[in-house]
């Protein structure tokens, strides 16, 4: 990482993260580092570093952080969250950061694909005649569903 330019820090960023669903407890971190010590992703990919991500939030390095692809490399295993003595809920913080990145247009391409699928068909995988025939062959009931609800609830 480059040298930090103190003038570019945004002290409001941590408050914005804390205002997001899942980000509420970010300011409780006392930097013990157990999140990083136990993270299975950091062991494979050291650039993904929960403790460092928290410091970036608290320092106010918003754009530098939100554009990072590694935000999408958390496997949401909740190991950090369950180990944290301060109940920072770091796995949920990752979701909050991803939400912020999406809103700023900084998420990698394709990450928002689920939104389109769900707002159209209410499912990640389509269930058409072909799928239902296969189900019937195995003695399983037909899937009907209600995509209209999802179209109404997720319309933009």
């Amino acid at each position: 990482m480059e040298r930090i330019d103190l003038k570019k820090l945004d002290p409001e960023f941590k408050h914005r993260v804390a205002g997001e669903l899942g980000g509420e407890h970010i300011k409780k971190c006392f930097a013990c580092g157990i999140c990083s010590a136990r993270c299975p992703i950091e062991k494979i990919e050291p650039e993904y570093n929960p403790r460092k991500i928290i410091r970036m939030i608290l320092l106010g390095l918003e754009d530098e952080l939100l554009k990072e692809e590694f935000l999408w490399h958390c496997s949401t295993c909740y190991t950090c969250q369950e180990s944290c003595p301060q109940r920072v809920n770091f796995t949920e913080v990752i979701f909050a950061l991803r939400n912020l990145a999406v809103r700023k247009g900084l998420a990698p391409a394709g990450m928002a694909a689920a939104q389109n699928l769900l707002s159209q068909q209410g499912r990640m995988y389509e269930v058409g005649d072909f799928e239902n025939e296969k189900r019937q062959e195995m003695g399983l009931p037909k899937i009907k569903g209600n995509p209209e609800d999802y179209q109404k609830l997720l319309k933009k």
Binding site: E20, L21, G22, P40, I41, I44, E45, E69, W72, H73, C74, S75, T76, C77, Y78, T79, Q81, E82, N89, T91, F95, A96, R98, N99, V102, A107, P108, G110, M111, A112, A114, Q115, L117, L118, G122, R123, M124, Y125, E126, V127, E131, K134, R135, M138, G139, L140, P141, I143, K144, G145, N146, P147, D149, Y150, K152, L153, L154
Partner: protein, 293 residues
């Protein structure tokens, strides 16, 4: 014991063996799984994109189950996690609950927080219990060994999952394996994450994670790795060939769903339990359960 059967997106399209065996096991054990036509995606895939909308979707499904007066039974751990988490958050946050209910008015539903969410495995373990399952075992699987894979969202976050197992030392699935007469392995990578939710963002990273467990179980030589989530199955069964290439090592880790294993011990045959859809199987093991007639 009746439940609203929540299939989610993946199971009813890609994991018919899991659904088929769960339905058969439920019937044999006297659990009634009621299909609610309107159930669709749990909301989990939206959480990274729009957390609030994912809660709206989860609450919609919870409201449908409340209306039917039934606790929810899920097969997928991500669905179970997403619905439990929404239930937990909305029960404890009145302001959020009213915002969500404002949205649900559009589809004529209201979430009240009176429903329960349980993974199928949890229903077997807690609602039915090991003793009652044991009574129905007609063909004990003695002499065989299986490696339980708990996965993450089945037990974590503990606050929302309701504490079926201590997160660092879970036992439910191991005991459910042992009730069939088989031996449940305790192994180093037992609690590892499958990597499934990184597959879309960085496949190589996901395969590395999956490879940690596949490598160990392969070496230990179990008769199978036991799944309770279709997402984990994608990694351990669907990606096994790619993981093999990555590790530069031949792998042969049969992967099966827990209800398939229990079904065999309850007297059903591999055909009835959908084993023809399992991609990596232990044929010698299965041969012993073919109908002899």
């Amino acid at each position: 014991m009746n439940y609203a059967f929540f299939l989610g997106c993946t199971v009813p399209v890609r994991n018919l063996n899991y659904e088929l065996s769960a339905r058969l096991v439920a019937e044999t054990l006297g659990l009634e799984l009621v299909d609610l036509e309107d159930f669709q995606c749990c909301g989990f895939p939206l959480k990274s994109v729009h957390f609030f909308d994912s809660l709206v979707i989860a609450a919609r499904n919870l409201a449908l189950a409340e209306k039917a007066g039934l606790p929810v039974c899920t097969l997928c751990s991500a669905c179970g996690g997403s619905l439990s988490e929404a239930n937990h958050l909305l029960r404890h946050n009145a302001e959020l609950r009213s915002q969500i209910n404002e949205r649900l008015k559009e589809v004529g539903l209201e979430y009240t927080g009176t429903g329960e969410v349980k993974h199928f495995i949890r229903i077997l373990y807690e609602d039915l219990g090991l003793d009652r399952i044991k009574e129905k075992i007609t063909r004990p699987l003695s002499g065989f060994t299986f490696a339980p894979h708990y996965g993450c969202h089945f037990i974590k976050p503990a606050e929302a999952a309701g504490g079926i197992d201590p997160v660092e030392d879970p036992k439910s699935l191991s005991e459910l394996i042992e009730v069939t007469g088989a031996k449940a392995l305790k192994y180093n990578t037992m609690l590892n994450c499958c990597g499934g939710s990184v597959l879309g963002a960085k496949e190589d990273l996901a395969n590395t994670l999956a490879g940690q467990k596949l490598g160990e179980v392969n070496q230990l030589g179990a008769n199978g790795l036991i799944m309770i989530c279709p997402f984990c199955n994608v990694m351990y069964e669907g990606q096994q060939k790619k993981v093999e290439k990555k590790l530069e090592q031949k792998l042969k880790v049969p992967v099966l769903y827990y209800p398939q294993l229990l079904g065999l011990a309850l007297g059903a045959g591999p055909e009835q339990l959908g084993f023809k859809l399992n991609r990596v199987k232990d044929k010698d093991f299965l041969k012993q359960f073919e109908k002899e007639d």
